[in-house]
Amino acid sequence: MKIIDILHLIHEYKVYDDDEQEVGSVRALNDVTLSLEEGSFVVVLGHNGCGKSTLAKHLNALLLPTEGMVYVCGNNTQEEDDIWKIRKNAGMIFQNPDNQIVGNVVEEDVAFGPENIGVPTEKMVKRVTEALKKVGMEAYRLNSPNQLSGGQKQRIGIAGMLAMRPKVILMDEPTAMLDPSGRKDVLNIVHELNKKEGMTVVLITHYMEEAVDADRVIVMDGGEIKMDGTPREIFSRVDELKNYRLTVPQVTELAWELKKEGVDLPDGILTKEELVEALCSLH
């Protein structure tokens, strides 16, 4: 069994009118089947309302399937007894860093998860220190979260999740509210955790650049998985991506335009270096 297995997942949101009468439902996820390898870095791309956030919430049982099954680390999300196991194993980071910090002091916030799963006090101090070290925030241990920048707050959020020792990191547009340097910091940390600790990462984003370094890219539209492959495969299908209202990274787009004009370039160029090399080798 893979670390995450999704079988024919359907999710419907109920729609209510002003008198709170149910008038129908909207299908946010339509027959999604997907399995993720342990230790992989998966990026989910998609336009607003394509169902990518809904998918993420299914992966740690914040939402339950209308139909179908979701298995996280071998536990079915519909088993009520396993719900805390699943949430412990699959930590989630949200978009707004302010709205996910609970503690009034950094270390207390990092300890919030372990406190909830009942880690004894002596072990907790060690876990907090470890988690803060991994995100490079030990120096801010006793600060108030209000004094930190957005990127730093998001790193505290990651530390709070790491302190629960999860196997999977789910991130729902974690960089959408950050400045460029904060974005870089957060992504570097996540990549490092993926490489060094072998953690499985599911990153939901609409920044194409963040998908370039992934092992696997999944494109969603209208609640369905439309494309699935390595970044190189996905970004060589520029026409199709544009169809789903997605843009490609700038360099890829340039290469694609050049190719359309008759320049002989390979498909799926992802980085500046690759483009430079390909252009130079033309002569």
Binding site: N96, Q100, G113, G118, T121
Partner: protein, 267 residues
């Protein structure tokens, strides 16, 4: 900067009183208030004043801060003093037009004022020497026995600590909304009380909407981090009694007992 504002009136200094367990200070506040009502002779008040003075000196909080707390209840103080002074019956001491002051009135008025002043100073000592976080912890743990009668102590503690965390964020938000509305011609400055109150509506509605949105985000984030109420929780820094806390308890009990005795002997 607005994000650095200190909440409550915590006065940061290193003292014995600051180091005491918040539960001890909670008990101190309650017992001290009780002690003000068990004895009612001049000597009882002198004793209570001496005890409070000693604690204030130990706490190293300047008396200035204590007096500041009194300023807010000055009106109440004067009002209740006046009522007692002019309306209580007894042997008339001074009579002028319709105003008359009796010996009983004078006695109850001064008793009232002294009690209120001590009461406020005694309880503000607690908020001055305890950080809001400790205070929440102390309330949660110290009032834990109320769980038996189904008071949601843990939930109240959680609410207090979340409120503390979000106050600076919401203040910042108010400023942002205010500027946004001002940029579109809203006027918060001029006009009478009613006009000013009306001007608050376009400020409050977006603020409430955003607060609710934050609350729902936070609830989701807390659930994602395995929050399921207070049961089975451990603490990073559990409250623990030290020797000094036990000593403080003994002193407190001695104080209360001696106050009762003093009241009995003189009364």
């Amino acid at each position: 900067m607005i994000r650095d504002i200190t909440l409550g009136q915590y006065y940061s200094v290193d003292s014995v009183i600051h180091k005491l367990d918040p539960r001890v200070k909670l008990v101190f506040t309650i017992l001290y208030i009780v002690s003000l009502y068990v004895g009612s002779g001049v000597w009882c008040y002198v004793y209570a004043a001496a005890f409070l003075g000693l604690v204030i000196i130990l706490s190293k909080v300047p008396v200035k801060f204590m007096v500041k707390g009194l300023r807010s209840i000055l009106f109440l103080l004067v009002l209740s003093a006046c009522f007692n002074l002019f309306l209580v019956d007894g042997n008339v001491l001074v009579k002028f037009w319709i105003i008359r002051i009796t010996d009983n009135g004078l006695r109850t008025a001064s008793k009232m004022v002294i009690r209120m002043v001590f009461l406020i100073m005694g309880s503000s000592l607690m908020t001055l020497t305890t950080t809001p976080n400790d205070l929440t912890d102390g309330l949660e743990k110290g009032l834990g026995f109320l769980k038996v009668i189904r008071v949601p102590v843990h939930e109240i503690g959680m609410m207090m600590s979340i409120a503390l965390r979000f106050i600076p964020i919401l203040i910042e938000e108010v400023n942002k909304i205010m500027k946004a509305q001002m940029a579109r011609g809203a006027d918060f400055e001029t006009g009478g009380l009613i006009k000013k109150a009306k001007a608050m509506v376009p400020l409050l509605i977006p603020l409430f909407i955003s607060a609710f949105r934050r609350a729902s985000d936070l609830a989701l984030a807390m659930e994602a981090r395995c929050y399921h109420g207070g049961e089975g929780c451990t603490k990073l820094h559990p409250l623990q009694y030290h020797t000094r806390d036990y000593v403080a308890y003994v002193i407190l009990i001695l104080y209360l007992v001696s106050m009762i005795l003093l009241g009995k002997l003189l009364g």
